[in-house]
């Protein structure tokens, strides 16, 4: 398997609390993987480790944007973005008082270069770059279907559109790997359908997707590969069929009294 991301023995401790314990899995390039588990299982912590927000206490995170594979554990978030890892947040984190366009233009930050002097002197290259930023941002917005709303304020968008805007912003960083943290949360069935189409379109752009999601129907439908965490430990890893039949998974979900399995 050609893996874009390999997580090897990653643990994360907060003081005495073990949030992740020796988790390993691999994400196939160009595929879509689901990271599932009950609340508090450590899914978002895993994302934060991959995205550089947290430094794992132990373990390696091997990321291969192209061919060369390197251990990126503990790199800062802005470095991870530059390497090609983008993410969205569980509780939407937009630049709320800025425009939709500016949200996505900021996403272009890591792929552009103009500095203080360029900005103050308005050099030719700075102006050309600004123009490109607007075009690229509009391309991302049109891709998620928000082009028309480019000049409205981000906080004025509907909940579903805010989630799409977050995806557009993440795509603007030109990621190779996109981490979506509960993208369907709070969406109505129609919005969820549109999201499924959008995720497939993202895959078609050659971006690998890792998804945290509580909507099991959605996960089972679009993921070919699932990893299940519970209490910070990996309890299953395989195809949706395998995972569904795994007794540990059933126990983890039903034991919690959760009925979504």
């Amino acid at each position: 398997m050609d893996a874009i991301l390999k997580v090897e023995g990653v643990s994360k401790r907060f003081g005495g609390l073990l949030a992740l314990g020796d988790v390993s899995f691999a994400v196939e390039r160009g595929a879509i993987m689901g990271l599932i588990g009950p609340n508090g299982a450590g899914k978002t912590t895993m994302f934060n480790c991959v995205a550089g927000i947290y430094k794992p206490t132990e373990g390696r995170i091997l990321f291969a944007a192209d061919d060369a594979q390197r251990d990126v554990a503990g790199r800062k978030p802005e470095r991870m973005t530059a390497l090609g890892v983008a993410r969205t947040f569980q509780n939407i984190r937009l630049f709320a008082s800025l425009t939709v366009l500016d949200n996505v233009r900021i996403g272009r930050h890591c792929r552009t270069a103009a500095n203080f002097f360029g900005a103050v002197l308005r050099t030719r290259s700075q102006r050309a770059e600004e123009r490109r930023i607007v075009d690229d941002a509009m391309e991302c917005l049109d891709f998620v279907g928000l082009g028309e709303a480019a000049l409205s304020q981000a906080s004025s968008l509907s909940y579903g559109d805010q989630r799409r805007l977050e995806i557009a912003r993440a795509l603007a960083t030109q990621p190779r790997l996109l981490l979506l943290d509960e993208p369907a949360a709070g969406m109505n069935p129609r919005e969820t359908e549109a999201l499924v189409d959008l995720i497939h379109a993202i895959l078609a752009r050659g971006v690998t997707v890792v998804l945290i999601e509580h909507d099991m129907k959605l996960v089972m439908r679009i993921c070919k590969h699932l990893v299940v965490l519970d209490h910070g430990v990996k309890i299953a890893d395989g195809t949706p069929q395998e995972v569904r039949a795994n007794p540990d998974v059933i126990e983890a979900y039903l034991g919690k009294g959760a009925a979504h399995a």
Partner: protein
């Protein structure tokens, strides 16, 4: 000489500690640097002065001033800070600065901008006399009174925080406000209580300083406020025992620094300590880390 400096520094430090607990407790429950706390301390001194000039005896005057400043502290929170709980932090910080300046100038209008002496006639005559004398070190009765009062207040405060229901609620709030609210704690009441407690302590500190240095002026809260904040940072912001420790350490460091390094930079010692602690050990002696949470 050195021992005398130590004694003076300790006296000063206890006073800083009394102000510092106010900062630290408020920071603990609402994560706000209450810049106006220095002004509460100043008001404590002036209100005592006003009570004495109305003919009240010193202990009663101090008690009344404590109650009044406690009320002002609560009012400050209710009027200025509470409406901004959900606003960005910057808004509350700016409001705190604004209130600090407002109170300072209000005092200037009421009591005038020139320094006033502490009414000596209200103090027992033996206060200025030495109580203890070891070879070259003298401890005055006033210093003894400051020690006893400050230590008693701190022991009392610790009891309130650790032994009472409200104190427990305060600590719960400092851990996690949402969870505390879910547990049925009346968050606003606990916050008001915290302000009242901290303000009362600050008022006593104000009285003691104006008594010790025989002067009070409307801008006195500005410098003392910063130093007490430095003490709170040194001890670890959010930690009450830390604030006490920090206050004493800062008082001693400042007195020794002024005595042995450079007296014009006396106030600079507090700033320098504060900046260095913030840079190199932002969690202080006993506090939580304050590096930006991701």
């Amino acid at each position: 000489m050195f021992e005398q400096q130590l004694v003076n520094g300790f006296t000063l430090g206890l006073i800083y500690a009394l102000i510092a607990v106010g900062y630290t407790m408020v920071y603990g429950v609402i994560e706000l640097i209450n810049f106006a706390h220095g002004e509460i301390y100043m008001l404590g001194a002036f209100l005592t002065l006003s009570c004495i000039s109305m003919g009240l005896p010193l202990p009663l005057a101090v008690l009344l001033a404590m109650l009044a400043t406690a009320a002002i502290g609560v009012l400050l929170d209710v009027v200025a800070y509470r409406p901004l709980r959900e606003a960005p932090r910057l808004a509350a910080l700016i409001t705190a600065i604004g209130m600090s300046i407002f109170l300072q100038n209000l005092a200037m209008i009421i009591w005038g901008s020139r320094p006033l002496p502490f009414p000596r006639q209200a103090l027992p005559a033996f206060f200025a006399e030495p109580a203890l004398r070891f070879s070259e070190v003298t401890v005055t009765w006033m210093q003894i009174v400051i020690y006893v009062t400050a230590l008693a207040l701190m022991v009392g405060l610790n009891l309130v925080i650790t032994k009472t229901r409200t104190g427990t609620a305060m600590r719960a709030l400092a851990q996690n406000r949402t969870a505390a609210a879910l547990m049925g704690i009346n968050v606003n009441r606990v916050i008001s209580f915290t302000f009242a407690l901290g303000s009362g302590m600050g008022a006593v500190a104000g009285v003691m300083v104006s008594m010790y240095y025989n002067t009070m002026y409307p801008t006195m809260g500005y410098l003392a406020g910063v130093k007490a904040f430095a003490a709170a940072v040194l001890g670890g912001i959010g930690s009450v025992p830390g604030a006490m420790l920090g206050g004493v350490a800062l008082g001693i460091a400042e007195t020794l620094g002024a005595g042995y390094i450079s007296s014009p930079y006396r106030d600079g010692v507090a700033y320098a300590v504060m900046i260095l602690v913030i840079i190199f050990r932002p969690s202080g002696f006993l506090g939580r880390s304050m590096v930006e949470k991701a």
